[in-house]
Symmetry: C2
Subunit: 190 residues, 2 copies
DNA sequence: CGAGGATGTTAACGGCGGCTCACGCCACTC
DNA sequence: GAGTGGCGTGAGCCGCCGTTAACATCCTCG
């Protein structure tokens, strides 16, 4: 091919391919050559775009946590906590269904990251959880934050189970997960 | 120590230690020496008890899937599908809270297994899901099995999120997860 | 008490995989 | 058209890791 369309950014191709591989085999189960082959280049060419294999994972995970946190914050702060929670659920369901590989990698390979990046990602994740906890506590005054935190984690688990599912149509799946998550969280008042 | 209590079965110590390591770092992220060190022996002594590193994972995963399936089958077949479902939820919550490492490894490292063992485990997992699907379909006549399957997976995700949670007391956590899972599954009728 | 088997140890091999290096292309600009 | 810089390749180094081998120890039993 005579440079049909000069790829604008190889980096994103690599990130997407690596996400798919990492999601299936785990960070340590995927080689540099595997990632390269998945985007049509072979082996060490990757070092023209990233400082190393771990840098690929780092950029992937910081991107996910930044996106989730930013999207979550955009959707709260309304007058009605119930509506806020509804938007949070919709946001998370949409992200998980749209990016199953990323959701899997984030849940799975965070500990393969070196301390500096890992701490950064953990911080964002913690902040994202607190967004949910705040809304839950506003919705149910008197609810202990530790209980709200456990409930939020459970809701994430429910929604993130997407990748393992025999997928229904996207619309049906969105609707099902949304309703199940809402029902589960409604149970949190005690 | 002058052989205080000769360890009856090293194998189970190794399995437990390996489960903890695998859960944290992934199968490929843990070395033979790491596992050995965790039980007080060093390195290749492991080969006195297992044919190799993969054999450890294989025994772990087949054990989990056998246990889950057997426990699930014991708890269904009553006259009341709602009571069956309740027992299934209680069973799964108890297992997940009692064995967070195993739950993590099962969800994470199945693809690191060679074909023969992997297929065996997959078969058991599939059968276990069908136990849930059967109960859901008896409880909600007319429910499509594919929808029931998606709902079951979502419930597993909710319950299995345990390891990532800042744990409440065991009793409170059991109660919370049980109620959330029940509420989520009740939403499945459409 | 001496043979044998279960359980460990250290040393060493062999392959794999991440990473570096030296080099080849183009595309674009003075 | 020669220089420059982005992008890719193939060869090779080096360290890690799963596995094997050769050798110790100790308990058990005839």
């Amino acid at each position: 091919m005579a440079t049909p369309t000069r790829e604008p950014n190889r980096r994103e191709q690599i990130l997407a391919a690596a996400a798919a591989k990492f999601a299936r085999y785990g960070f340590h189960g995927v080689g540099i050559d595997d990632i390269g082959a998945a985007v049509g280049i072979s082996g060490p060419a990757l070092y023209r775009h990233f400082r190393g294999k771990e840098a690929v994972l780092a950029e992937m995970l910081t991107g996910i946590s930044d996106t989730l946190l930013a999207g979550g914050r955009e959707r709260v702060g309304g007058e009605d906590p119930a509506a806020d929670l509804d938007r949070l659920v919709a946001w998370h369901v949409g992200f998980a269904l749209g990016n199953p590989d990323l959701i899997t990698v984030q849940a799975r390979d965070l500990d393969s990251l070196g301390s500096p990046d890992r701490n950064r990602v953990r911080e964002r994740q913690r902040a994202y959880v607190e967004v949910w906890v705040d809304v839950l506590c506003r919705l149910h005054p008197g609810l202990a934050r530790s209980t709200a935190r456990a409930a939020a984690h459970a809701a994430f688990g429910l929604i993130n189970s997407t990748p393992h599912s025999t997928r229904l149509s996207s619309g049906a799946m969105t609707d099902l997960l949304h309703r199940m998550a809402r029902a589960a969280l409604a149970e949190v008042t005690g």
